[in-house]
Symmetry: D2
Subunit: 342 residues, 4 copies
């Protein structure tokens, strides 16, 4: 059994990790930390876990984590970078769901995240945990930087056409809509149901932290600089991301076939039949990305629809997918749940 | 492997049966019928099932179902009673999620359901599929009448006190709130999001079909006639039932202990710690009933809060729980999913 | 023109007062205070008011309010009692939307609100601002204690039968459901959309602050002590309260007629036709209470359904209705808006 | 008093017309028709109108409408074109909220709407009822074609830059999100709360009927053909449209100033301060369009955010605005309601 620890177990990605891991046949969750709630049973805070989880929150200290085989960081940005080095030195694998190791350019990271990076040496080592791109490196990795939720949906949607060199990489548009759980379990007025319910808005149009991450990922595939306009929106639902992606085609090609071939072997990326529309409800609670591709009025603009559950394929599910790869397990273990529809 | 058939696979209880059964280690779903959609692949109608379900809808005819070991009816009322006898004669077990066999008094059934019963002989044989009450009969049964969603939440909440003879059984009140999926996948104006969203209302106050079913169940336990006021409400969410139950205590007793002892061995009924409130989100997608019991201001009125997911413990999950019992399998097989929170 | 001031203009009852008052033909909103946002334009915080409101938040100091004809307190409990006396001394009328002057028994108030009352002398003078009960006193009042949202819906529903002496006043049950705006514009985790959306729960079953207020109001009408079980619930919508009220009839009477006669002259209480169900969407944004009365299966239990918009008839609309009465204006001025359906 | 008739009073635009018109100081709603509900009181179907509307649904026949001064068509497409000519001949002004007279090219109309146009002569006469573009023609018109909801939000957003010739008119993108009331009050499975709630999807990506309407409007301003990709989405709320518009700038200019100058005199178009994001809740129930303009990272892509309430500025409010203009009344009469926030 793999002994897993979760640092920051009180947020939504933390409890989602627990939802998945308590049913994982090869994992025992042995430590869940919370600075604020140390000493409280996890299932007191999260009654959905009653009967499945006997753990009590402990303090996020090295001593509590040192016997783990793997530690997940479901923490705000800036925490994993303080502890990763010590854990790795003890032979503990680290899977970071925060942004600490996602961006290879340290200065870029410091600019967008507004703090100094504490562990710059590890940035280079960290493997970006998007299995559909980096599967082999992930298998060998000690330290994984799990992609953000927006970046997962956007990259999986754009990659096939960038790889094929079929779109103008200078003018990509990603109009992306997220459910409110993406904002985390934080007491903020803007996330109140009275504010976010029954309403729709864009935010951070001038620049969102996921922009450099997406750009980096697209550039790695396009092998050149890309121009991207990324507009995130808040939509009045709890879970789900819907990315509507626009690109200008530079030649004629069978779009449906490009996508189907790219993802034929991928268990968690599902290319919908031609003419379909992707719907976030069909991936709610599942680790799957569903993608549809359109060429309206046979013009030169391609429209790609890419949906995920932001807490699963966009966070905790993908983290477990990475863990499975790192430990030589079947990639899909504990991730086969069917979406909760309706 | 148990070969299972689903008659009426296009409604919400049908697709929910599929969600649970496609992951069941001992079941192969071999037939799913739909009169309207025969010939279409199931996963074309329900993209959430892509990759998990290769079945094509067939017509609801005996010939298509005769090789099944068990057939679930996820149909409108009045359908199962037409086919059950023939299936049983072929040795096929029948689990009916509709109301056809729930009420033992045929006249009462005909009054509330507005049709003649076609198969009165089977009414007596049918076992009411509430495992917490009828577990042993279920194990022996050929024909199960699965409880309705409201009746499940209300009965599990009232039973401990009725068994204990601790409340005035003449003046029970069940104020129950349901999510909109309880109305089924039917094109009705009252279930439109523009109507049912952002609004709350009671309905059928003068008399709802679940009233005689609940009364019958409570009377079986109380061993006398009970007086029940049952008011169902529609609440703007998709899944979940919250029953708020009121009774007048006729003596002093340790309420928390009565409930805990009653359900100590039950895997799917979870008595929350004293002082808790039950929340439907904590059972969303799970087969669990969570119950809290209160005695406000130490008065003589007891308040019981009982929550379930109407499509799982209130319908398809309970149906699979019954199937597991009927086939001698562990009762919880394929039903251990943790609730999808948030 | 009446010069109106609003103390505590940044919460939901404050902005709702503004929504109503900026269109009031006899009112000029001259002061809106906010300790935190003093100096900011009101319409910067609330863009819905752009073009209708030129006011800038000022500090909640006497000097800023002394030229008002009336001051509304849309503040947390414990604020109005600190300023009311000084304002009244200056000849300013005071309408308090908080709970400071609602409960006549000072000790009871202090027990439920957990603080000492600072202005006990005014408790006796304050008129409870439920116009359907106290219209004449309101017209003469200097100081109004506006009813809470739950108490408004519950009292209007129970009053006709208590006045008629037709129900057992010792065993009243009020099962009440509120939208989340009732919790106010406060950064609290329990009010996040990810928590309160798609879920339903009871809270404060052991005792809610509105219990003594409701009990006091019912007792005034019943002219004796009443026994009340009050269970508030949180329902996943923004606006609206639905009270489902239960009482035991002590004699036969024409329920529909009792209600219609009681409220015949009331512009803001609408008794629905016999057999109707009340729906919160039909009063959304309006100052109206809609009531339906049922006697299921002709038994001895009466069920009353009473709906309001918690921010209008349950708070700011009722406050303006009181103001209209105090200043000798038509009671309905600026309150005739039709509900926003759908 | 203007005698107004509404043909098709049972849909959402019909009841929204009633909400606005029953409070209009210069209008008496004398006729409301419904083929299905003729003979029923309007406020029986819509209890929100109780006390404000004494009208009974009548049949949609000329004889019932001939004494009106103006008739609104809140009907499905294909109805207004059958009756408009006869009404105009009787001197009745006609305001059509459906699509019958929106598109000047008859063949284009017939292609997108799948029927033959019955009244081609009137197409030329009809004035497209977007006051911000056609105010003077509207004042003189007998027949108004009210814009669709998507076209209103998109045109108001793009017009300033197309007029200024500042964007590449060959590659416009309109990514637009609508609440579910846009689908109307029709019993359709896709509009059920269980389907449309808690989910987000694009639809009609290959071509939506509003595409030719938007293109025609933009071309009139650009004075040349435009290339437009229009992707509509369904968002889980009842009211509201949020258009996110993308264009490529062909020169440097002060975007904020262009928008502010264009709409300085417009009462119902509100350009938000630089750096703002538009939020549909701030126009809920109001006749206003709020617009924000951004130039992310100072690149060559402009992002315009434009929000309306689809039933008000996107339909019935705009229809009344047109009526006010046609009858020489102040344009804003009965349209000054402040948005219902929260």
């Amino acid at each position: 059994m793999i002994r897993a620890g979760i640092v920051g177990g009180t947020g939504y990605t933390g409890v989602e990790l627990l939802r998945i891991l308590v049913l994982h046949p090869q994992v025992e969750v042995s430590v869940v930390t919370s600075r604020a709630d140390a000493g409280m049973r996890v299932d007191q805070l999260y009654p959905s876990l009653r009967g499945c989880c006997d753990v009590t929150f402990s303090l996020p200290e090295l001593d509590n984590l040192k016997d783990c085989d793997v530690v997940f960081f479901a923490t705000p940005n800036g925490t994993a970078m303080l502890m990763a080095e010590a854990l790795l030195a003890l032979g503990v694998k680290v899977i970071d769901l925060s942004a600490d190791f996602r961006i290879k350019d340290q200065q870029e990271w410091e600019k967008w995240y507004g703090m100094q990076h504490n562990s710059p040496d590890l940035i280079a080592e960290a493997v970006y945990g998007l299995p559909e791109v980096n599967r082999e490196q992930i298998k060998q990795a000690r330290l994984i930087a799990c992609p953000g939720c927006y970046p997962t949906a956007v990259q999986l949607g754009f990659l096939p056409l960038l790889e094929a060199g079929a779109i103008d990489e200078q003018h990509l548009i990603a109009d992306v809509k997220s459910g409110v759980s993406g904002a985390g379990r934080k007491a903020e007025i803007s996330s109140l149901m009275s504010e976010a319910g029954e309403s729709f808005k864009a935010y951070a149009v001038s620049g969102h932290r996921h922009l450099p991450e997406i750009r980096q990922g697209l550039q790695n595939v396009a092998r050149q600089a890309v121009g991207l306009t990324f507009v995130p929106h808040l939509t009045p639902m709890i879970r789900g991301i819907h990315a509507t992606l626009y690109g200008r085609l530079n030649r004629k090609l069978d779009l449906q076939r490009v996508f189907e071939e790219k993802y034929r072997e991928e268990r968690f990326v599902d290319v919908l039949p031609s003419g379909s529309h992707a719907d976030t409800r069909n991936v709610r609670g599942s680790n799957r990305c569903q993608i549809a591709v359109h060429q309206p009025q046979c013009g030169d603009t391609v429209v790609i629809l890419s949906v995920i559950d932001n807490l699963v394929k966009g966070a905790s599910g993908q983290a477990v997918q990475n863990m499975n790869l790192m430990f030589g397990l079947p990639e899909y273990l504990s991730l086969e749940t069917v979406a909760l529809y309706p």
